[in-house]
Symmetry: C2
Subunit: 115 residues, 2 copies
Amino acid sequence: MNGTGTAAEDRVFAALANATRREVLRLLRERGPQPVQALADHFDMRRPSLSEHLKVLREAGLVSEQRSGRQRIYRLEAAPLAEVQDWLHPYERFWREQLKGLGDLLDRLPDDDQR
Amino acid sequence: MNGTGTAAEDRVFAALANATRREVLRLLRERGPQPVQALADHFDMRRPSLSEHLKVLREAGLVSEQRSGRQRIYRLEAAPLAEVQDWLHPYERFWREQLKGLGDLLDRLPDDDQR
DNA sequence: ACAATAGGTAGGCGTTTACCTACCAGTCAA
DNA sequence: TTGACTGGTAGGTAAACGCCTACCTATTGT
């Protein structure tokens, strides 16, 4: 009944677990939709490898492609990231408590380190 | 100057890209700190495999262990999840726009599909 | 029609992942 | 001090990953 199975979540997190793919998302976010070539210029990697990264991103629903002549324009699709945020929500109170605890600790010891 | 390199981000996302590990985090969040055995009861998997999952979570900084007699009590450490949320932030305006666009579309076509 | 361009697919290769069984180390209780 | 119990490590295996080179298809410009 939910439509967003754990396999989909796996695919999204796995897609994000790679610096190249996160960088592709950043480029699409900062510079808008682009053809593969323009993306490829930013990476020290052969084009077929980037194509495979784009496939992973497509299958995670994080990008879409739109054909335009002989180019494929890739576009950021952020909806799966909204689901990541939803997934994070129940943890938020934990990191707020824990970061607060850390702040308090640092307040109480304005001194230096141990090693 | 940042201290949270891309390798750390890789480790966190990779740790989350597995349903067993996400379930461990959920158990620690909902039921509090627990020894390995109590966690293992929830999985259809040999204990050494779960140990390896716990190691991945530890190395991502998502859990900590505290020895107590012969048990190891695992505890949720949510700070890396706060960094995931920070990473998500710049994408938020995209999914808001896109989800809004989808809503509008559904409003304008109360009809059915194409294929 | 032909050459050039954009970009995907096939297949190979070394590394990593996720599981397993076997074994080891530390702690506790009799 | 020996035996049970908790949980990690070693080592093996099959599958997945990330990269490569080679090749294929589709489109475009001459």
